[in-house]
Amino acid sequence: MRALLLGPWLRAARGLPRAPGSGHRHRGHGGHRPQGPLRKVSVEVLDHLEHLALVDFRDAEGVERLQKAIQFADQLHEVNTNGVEPMDSVLEDRCLYLREDDVTEGNCTKELLENAREKVEEYFVAPPGNIPLPKLEERETFLQGSQ
């Protein structure tokens, strides 16, 4: 397990401009770093995100929450990662367990279908294909009127 010492790396931070007067904010255990500028996210990017993740940002507050989340995550850029291998997970140096090729599961159709809102003869029922999200111009969402 790698021990990650943030201190020395943070001091050698790559130039992210520190907004004057943004001060300190306390957010639980993470809030000692000064925040960067609040970045605006374009309508196209928001639309793309809504398609990819099937979320609906719904209103100005939702969008602002997203932008603040991005700003918070941007703190990661302050860490100098030159010459450091990216880590996938804290378990990445564990042994990957290999299972024997035996049939040990399945045969629980009834149980699985109990969760289904609709079923037809032991098949799950879904709407046909992927319902395409209407194009931005056609939607009645908040994004339509936003900048």
Partner: protein, 513 residues
């Protein structure tokens, strides 16, 4: 020495300049295993819907993937057979997209570091559709990766709904990516056929296209020499070997015509419509997909070992040794063909046909063992007579009413000159009926034995000569081909029971006097 094939350029005509065609393939082969890639539910074609589904396959919360050792071994075997470098450390990733038959909303695959890379596959083609001339080509294998199969969707258009069966969800797949070294449907089909034979020989996949165990997507692009590479389209929904070449050739032609008419090619996904014989754009795949790849957090890297790196104190069951697998690889089709040619003196083309038909090579070898006839002669009977009959009646070698024992028996009669080859064909036709008679019994029944009495044969020859003065004169005047007519007449008189070689000798002797 190996040379990767240069794509043929299409012929240039007055109307259209030459074009260079690139065809690459993404082939998904279902791994032949008892259970799925990351769960213990059974792998089986055709079972009651959603009966072979575990909680993990249905993506219920709280479930985790557990890697099946057999699937890893299958991928290593395949990588080695395709001359790949096996990555001793490979990683798993999530590929996200939404579809009803993908309950988790992502597929576990190997996008960053797959299990095998940089291999090659050699395959052969007949030039000009004749089996007489074969040329060997090579296609580079970019990589092989382990990934999950998705479930199956049945579209019910009348009720505007999709029925989902997750039996196939989570079955292990090997995706084999072939670089665009091919230039037409024929080459692609030949490469896929060879891959299919290799997979079946290894046992890593049964690779039956009809059961969806082998699926091929083709990437096709066309451009003028000297100009930048053309836009690529992906062709999906190719369900059989027959349609593979057709679909690719159609798409090549479509792109060429589109460019000639001044149009542009869209980077899109198209489906092959087998009824219409053309490719059509696929509705759900508009625009570039953004799969938001991320490392699979529930699976640490897959580590493989070889003889040198084998860890000393690890449970055997947890260790996969690449060298151990390498030593146990069976003879690949290319090696088997070479051995057949060397051992039996048959032509390379013959070895291809033998291996192309399930069980035919074994049948041939079995006949050779049981007969004195030379393998070079036996092969003709196997490839022409036996195989054509099987094809006509859509039978596999295993279903043949004529066993290798019976055929060998028949060929022995022929070899001992007890019957003529014409008679042998007659006996064979009778054997097809599968009535349980031996060749000898049929010969006796139909009175097909060759005339052993030389004197009687000479008399018949003389009679024919006497009765056909015109023909005799023609032969003596220097037209030897007319002799065949006389031979035919003798055959007729003897009801096929004369040896044509002997008859020819006798006639020539008599006429030269």
């Amino acid at each position: 020495s190996q040379s990767s094939s240069l794509c043929k350029t299409t012929p240039s005509t007055a109307k259209s300049p030459r074009k260079i065609v690139f065809v690459g393939l993404e082939i998904h082969a279902q791994i032949s295993s008892n259970s799925k890639l990351f769960s213990g539910s059974q792998v089986q074609f055709a079972a009651p819907p959603n009966s072979l589904v575990s909680f993990f396959d249905a993506s219920l919360p709280g479930t985790l993937p557990v890697l099946n050792r057999r699937c890893v071994e299958a991928a290593v075997m395949t990588g080695l057979a395709l001359n790949c470098s096996i990555n001793k450390k490979s990683l798993f990733d999530r590929k996200h997209y939404f579809y009803a038959d993908l309950p988790a909303g992502y597929q576990i695959t190997q996008q960053r570091v797959p299990i095998a890379v940089n291999g090659s596959l050699s395959y052969s083609l007949c030039i000009d559709n004749k089996m007489s001339q074969m040329v060997t080509k090579t296609v580079r294998i970019k990589q092989i990766q382990l990934e999950q199969d998705s479930g199956k969707s049945l579209h019910d258009d009348t009720r505007s709904q999709t029925l989902v069966d997750l039996n196939r969800a989570g079955v292990g797949l090997m995706e084999v990516v072939m670089e665009p070294d091919m230039c037409c449907g024929e080459e692609a089909a030949a490469a896929v056929r060879e891959l299919q034979l290799i997979l079946q020989t290894l046992g890593s996949s049964q690779a039956v296209m009809a059961e969806g165990q082998l699926r091929v997507d083709a990437n096709v692009s066309v451009h003028h020499p000297g100009e930048p590479y053309g836009v690529r389209t992906e062709v999906k929904n190719i369900n059989s070997m027959r349609f593979l070449a057709k679909a690719i050739d159609y798409e090549i032609q479509r792109q060429i015509e589109e460019l000639e008419n001044g149009g542009t090619i869209l980077n899109e996904t198209r489906a092959f419509d087998s009824k219409l014989g053309c490719t059509v754009p696929m509705r759900d795949k508009e625009g570039q997909q953004d799969y938001r790849f991320m490392p699979e957090p529930n699976l640490p890297p897959l580590i493989l070992y070889d003889a040198k790196s084998l860890p000393a104190n690890m449970n055997h069951q947890q260790v996969i040794n690449i060298d151990w697998i390498h030593e146990r690889l069976p003879d690949l089709p290319s090696v088997k063909r070479k051995k057949l040619v060397e051992q039996y003196g048959i032509l390379p083309e013959h070895s291809f046909t033998l291996l192309n038909e399930d069980g035919l090579a074994e049948f041939f070898e079995s006949v050779v063992k049981q007969t004195q006839m030379k393998p070079k002669k036996v092969i003709g009977w196997i490839l022409k007579d036996l195989l054509s009959y099987l094809k006509q009646h859509s039978l596999t070698v295993k279903e043949s009413p004529v066993s290798s024992f019976l055929l060998a028996d028949l060929l022995n009669l022929l070899e001992k000159k007890e019957i003529s080859s014409t008679a042998a064909k007659q006996v064979l036709a009778e054997l097809w009926k599968g009535e349980g008679k031996t060749p000898l019994e049929i010969v006796k029944e139909q009175k097909l034995e060759l005339l052993q009495d030389q004197k009687e044969l000479e008399q018949i020859c003389q009679a024919v000569i006497d009765g056909h003065e015109n023909e005799v004169m023609a032969i003596k005047a220097g037209n030897p081909k007319v002799l065949n007519k006389l031979i035919g007449l003798v055959q007729k008189k003897t009801q096929g029971r004369s040896n044509p070689v002997l008859v020819k000798q006798l006639l020539e002797k008599k006429l030269s006097g």
